[in-house]
C-alpha cells in the first residue's frame, strides 16, 4: 500500500494503516526532529506529538496531491521548528491552539505539487545530496539555517548582520540552483 493510501486510511481512522505509516516514517521523522530540536527529551515528546497530529489531522491531507511524503515531512519540520522556537523564545509566539496548529503546522502544499512518496525520495536522495554539495558554502549555510535552525529571513539577517534582501536573494538563488542542478542532472 502506498504512503498516500495509508494516509487516506488514517484519515478514516484506520489504526493498522497508522502503524504501517509509523513503521515507514518513524526513523526519518525522528532523525529530523532530533536534528532540529536537539534536546533529546523534548525531541521524543515532539516526535510523538507529530504522529498524533498525523492521526488527528490526516483529514486535512489533500488526497488529490498524492504527495504523502511532502505532507508528512513538512508537518514534522513545522512542528519541530515550532517546538524549538517555543523553547528558545516562548513569549513572542502565539498561543498553541488548534487554529494555530491548522495554520502554522499543517502544511499548505501547492495544489499542483507532483506526487512523491518515501521510496521515491530515498531513491533520489543521493542526487539531492550531490546537488546540495555543489552549492556554495554560503548558499548551503542559508538553507541550513532555514531548514534546521528554523530561522526566518529576518532572523538570519539579524544573526548574520546582513540585509534581509541579501538573505532573501541567497535563499532564492540557493534553491533555484539546487532545482536547476537536479532538473538538468548536474548533480
Amino acid at each position: 500500500m502506498s504512503d498516500h493510501e495509508l494516509l487516506v486510511k488514517i484519515a478514516e481512522k484506520d489504526v493498522e494503516a497508522f502503524k504501517d505509516l509509523y513503521k515507514r516514517y518513524s526513523k526519518l521523522v525522528y532523525a529530523l526532529v532530533t536534528k532540529i530540536v536537539e534536546d533529546e527529551i523534548i525531541a521524543d515528546t515532539t516526535f510523538e506529538e507529530i504522529f498524533l497530529i498525523i492521526w488527528n489531522k490526516a483529514g486535512k491531507y489533500d488526497r488529490n496531491s498524492q504527495n504523502a511524503y511532502c505532507w508528512i515531512i513538512t508537518l514534522a519540520r513545522n512542528k519541530a521548528i515550532d517546538t524549538k522556537r517555543r523553547k528558545l523564545n516562548s513569549t513572542t509566539l502565539d498561543e498553541y491552539t488548534d487554529d494555530y496548529e491548522n495554520y502554522m503546522v499543517i502544511p499548505h502544499l501547492s495544489p499542483h505539487i507532483d506526487p512523491l512518496d518515501l521510496e521515491m525520495a530515498v531513491n533520489i536522495s543521493e542526487n539531492i545530496e550531490k546537488a546540495l554539495m555543489n552549492l556554495t558554502e554560503a548558499q548551503q549555510h542559508v538553507i541550513y539555517l532555514g531548514m534546521y535552525y528554523g530561522f526566518t529571513q529576518s532572523e538570519i539577517s539579524k544573526n548574520l548582520n546582513i540585509p534581509i534582501q541579501t538573505v532573501s536573494s541567497k535563499i532564492r538563488l540557493a534553491l533555484s540552483s539546487l532545482r536547476d542542478n537536479l532538473l538538468h542532472g548536474e548533480a
Binding site: F18, K19, Y22, S26, K27, L28, Y30, A31, L32, K35, D44, F47, E48, E49, F51, L52, W55, N56, G59, K60, C70, T74, R77, I81, D98, E101, Y103, P107, H108, S110, P111, H112, I113, D114, L116, A121, I124, S125, E126, I128, E129, L132, T136, E137, A138, Q139, H141, G146, M147, G150, T152, Q153, I156, I162, P163, S168, I171, R172, L175, R179
Partner: protein, 494 residues
Amino acid sequence: MTVEEKNRYQNLIQAFALGALDKDDFIEIVHVLQTNEDFATQELGEYQNLTALLVSFINPKEVPLHSLDRILARIDEIGASATTRSSDRKTISFTKLTSFVDETDAPKDADAPESPEIAGSTDVPEVPEDVDPYSLIRSQQSRPVNNRQPGFQRPAPMTQISARGGDTPPRPGQQGVPDAFPDSSINGKFEEGIDDDSGLIPHIGRQGIPAVPEYYNEDDVQPGMPGTDLEMEINEPAPDEAPVHPISPLRARRKQLIEQEVNEEPDSFEENIEESTTEYDDDPIGSEKQKRKLNPVRGAVIDVSGSVTATAFWGVIGIMVICFSIVAYFLFSMFSGTEERLEAKLNELGATQAKTELLRNTVMMNQNLLLFISTVKTAGIVNLYGTEDYSEAFGKLFYAVKEKKGFLQFSNVMSFNSGKGFQLWIQKDGGYLKAGGINLPKQNVEFFELNDLPDLSQTGTFNILMTEENASGAETPSNNVILTGLLIMKAQAN
C-alpha cells in the same frame, strides 16, 4: 494581481517552501495561495518537494522504545474521550444572553483538536446509559468546574460565581416545560413545580423572580439572595438520545423564556417589578439595589413623574451619542495621524543614523585612500565586480607596483559570518598568489589596505579575486568568490 505583486510573491516562494518566511509574509502567501489562481503554484510545488527531499538523506535514527505504544495509548484516550464527548459537562454562563448560542451552535469539527494534553487530562466521568444525564448536573451544580473542552476559554471571572445563592425559591407563574425534554421525570418535575432542577432554567427576566443583572458586582451579591445562581454545568444527553428538535431542549426552553420576556407588555412588566421587589422586603438592602438596577433600564423610558419625557430622554441620548462619535472621530484621527508622524520621524531618524554611519565610514576611507595615494609614486586602479552570488557588490583596487602596496575598497559585500574573512588573490603564472593577508570584516568598514602585493611590474594580464575564507587564512582560494577583476599591465607604463 498586479505585475509587481506577482513578482513579489514569486520572490517569496522559495523562502515559503523553506519555511523561512516571517509571519506577515507567511500569512500573505498562504492567503494568496488559497485565493489567487494566478499564483505560481506549479513552481511552489517544485520547491516544496525540493525542500522535503533535503530531509531524505539524513541518516535515519532508531526511535525510542515503546514510542508507538505510547502514541497508540494516547490515540485510545482521544477515541475514548470522543465517545464520551456528548456527555461532557459544559459551563454555560447565564449572565450572557448570547453565550449559549455560540457554544451550542458551534459546529464540532470532525478534525477537532484532540490536543494530547487536553485529552490526557480529561477526567469526565462516564455516565451509564440508564442514568439520567441531568441528575449529574444537579448533583454537581454547586461545584465550580473549569471547562476542559478544546477551544473553550476559561469563563470570565464574572461568570464563575457558582451557586452562591444556595437553593432557588420556587418560581411563581412557571409554565410547563416543553415536551421536548427527553426525560419525562424532568417534565413531571416542572409541571409539579419541584425545584430541584433550579438553575437549569436561566434566571433571566423570569416572571416573579428578579434577575441578577449582568453588571451586578460579585461583592454586592447578598448572602441568601435568591436568583444568584449564575453558573451551572450541564451534561447534555448523547445525540442519539436526544429527541428530534431543531434546537436543543435547553435552548428551546431558554428561547421561550426570552421571547416571553420580550413579548411582555410594559404595564405587566412594571407590575412584575413591583411583585418581584416585594419579595425583598425582608432584605431591604438587596431590594433597594435591585430597584436601582432595574429602574434605569425600563423606568427611564416611561417616566411616571412627568419630569422627563421619553422624547427628551432619547434626545439627550442622541446628543450624547453624536458628541461621543465626534470626540471619538477626533481622537482617532489625532492618534492615527500621530502614529504616521511618529513612524515618519523614526524612519527619518533611522535614515539619518544610517547616513551618519555611512558618512563616517566614507570619511575614514577617504582619509586612508588619500594617504595611500599620496605616499606612493604611481597608483593604478582596477574595477572589481560582484559574482553571481554577490551581484550587487562592486569594488576598486588601488595598487602601487613599486611599493607593492594596495588599497581595496568595496560596497554591498556582506560580512557573511564572524568566522570568515576576505582574501585578495592575484593570478600569476597559472596559479593564484595571495595579495596581502586575510582581512577580517568590521562593521560598516568597507575597505582594507594590502601590503606585500605580488610583483606586478611585468607586462601581462592578471585575474584578481576577492574570496571569503576562514579567519585563519587559506593557501588557495575557496570557491566562494565575491569580487573579480582584470588587471592589464604594461611594463613601460611603470
